[in-house]
């Protein structure tokens, strides 16, 4: 009984949930997750691609998590890209805002979220999603009127 209780208490005291993860290769768009999840700027189709490129830069530079929005609609929160572990306002993720990429990395799932540690950006197709043709720019002030 003491052993059982000891094992239980030991398991409760383990720090973190560090695990091996699962190797994945995902193709999708590097998105601004706050605008996507919150709806603060409009529906999910409007806050991706060229319409939202400038806002995606603002949010990425501002330290909001970037995500990889896969073709099936799954969002993977990006925690690291190659050697750059600056997932809050980092240079690498900033340079990929709104780009469609294929990423090879490790997937970690916890409490309803998918997190990805990208080992390699296998391909970068730049911006493919020309959403400004349907939505203009989101938000509209992200493209200032030329002087």
């Amino acid at each position: 009984m003491r052993l059982t209780l000891s094992l239980l208490l030991t398991s409760l005291a383990l720090p973190g949930w560090a695990s091996e993860g699962t190797r994945v290769q995902v193709t999708g768009e590097i998105i601004d997750t706050w605008c996507y999840y919150s709806g603060v700027m409009g529906g999910p189709d409007a806050v991706v691609g060229s319409a939202h490129h400038t806002c995606a830069l603002w949010c990425s530079a501002g330290g909001i998590p970037v995500g990889l929005l896969a073709e099936d609609g799954t969002v993977y929160m990006v925690l690291k890209i190659a050697q750059d572990d600056a997932s809050a306002s980092g240079d690498t993720q900033l340079s990929l805002a709104a780009h469609t990429v294929t990423a090879d990395g490790m997937l970690y799932e916890r409490d309803g979220q998918n997190y990805i540690v990208v080992n390699e950006v296998v391909s970068d197709a730049d911006i493919e999603n020309r959403t400004h043709e349907d939505y203009g720019t989101i938000p509209s002030f992200s493209f200032p009127e030329p002087k």
Binding site: T33, S38, S50, G73
Partner: protein, 187 residues
């Protein structure tokens, strides 16, 4: 002993998912479709460290995404946003409390259709016996980091990295010619 053990198991197995984290919250609404006020105690973690064991002594000092492992149910909540309406995240607010137990108050986003679950906008933080502080330090830290960008207007119009990218790729990210066409058609 058996009774104590039974109580311990009952405590562990309690249906904490049913717990209402909005109780006692003074979070201000952002009028978001999926927002739910939430005040809870949590351990502040570097998410990369928590999930993979790739750790840094100071949780990255604001450069890594931060999470909150809730005391009540051990759920990892991703802190996505601070309290400033200025396109700013929560890492700079939480990193000073790396691996500490704090109380937080803010808005949880729960939107099953989009997959938003356990993601959070933190508005206030309370550490131990200290008073509540507002999670609104990001823009001051940015200003200290980029003194050369001092000027009028919001930070995101003056940020050197953003200006450089827009200067090359344009606001649409498709090149300056596409920007010119868009401006001609829309202004």
């Amino acid at each position: 002993m058996m009774r104590k053990l039974g109580m311990l198991f009952a405590l562990v197995a309690a249906p904490v998912a049913a717990q209402d984290f909005s109780e006692g919250s003074n979070a201000k609404s952002w009028n978001l479709y999926a927002e739910v006020p939430a005040k809870f105690e949590a351990r502040v973690v570097d998410v990369l460290c928590e999930l993979t064991g790739d750790c840094s002594d100071d949780c990255g000092a604001g450069s890594r995404q931060m999470g909150l492992v809730r005391t009540a149910d051990d759920v990892l909540v991703l802190a996505m946003k601070n309290s400033q309406p200025a396109f700013t995240g929560a890492s700079e607010e939480l990193a000073p409390f790396c691996n500490q137990i704090v109380e937080v108050d803010g808005l949880m986003l729960e939107d099953e259709d989009l997959g938003a679950s356990n993601v959070y906008l933190v508005q206030r933080i309370k550490s131990a016996d200290a008073d509540w502080i507002k999670a609104n330090k990001w823009t001051k830290k940015w200003a200290a980091k980029y003194p050369e960008a001092k000027g009028k207007g919001p930070w995101f119009r003056r940020d050197p990295r953003i200006k450089e990218i827009i200067g090359i790729e344009g606001y649409l990210g498709l090149g300056l010619e596409e920007d010119a066409t868009y401006a001609e058609e829309n202004f």
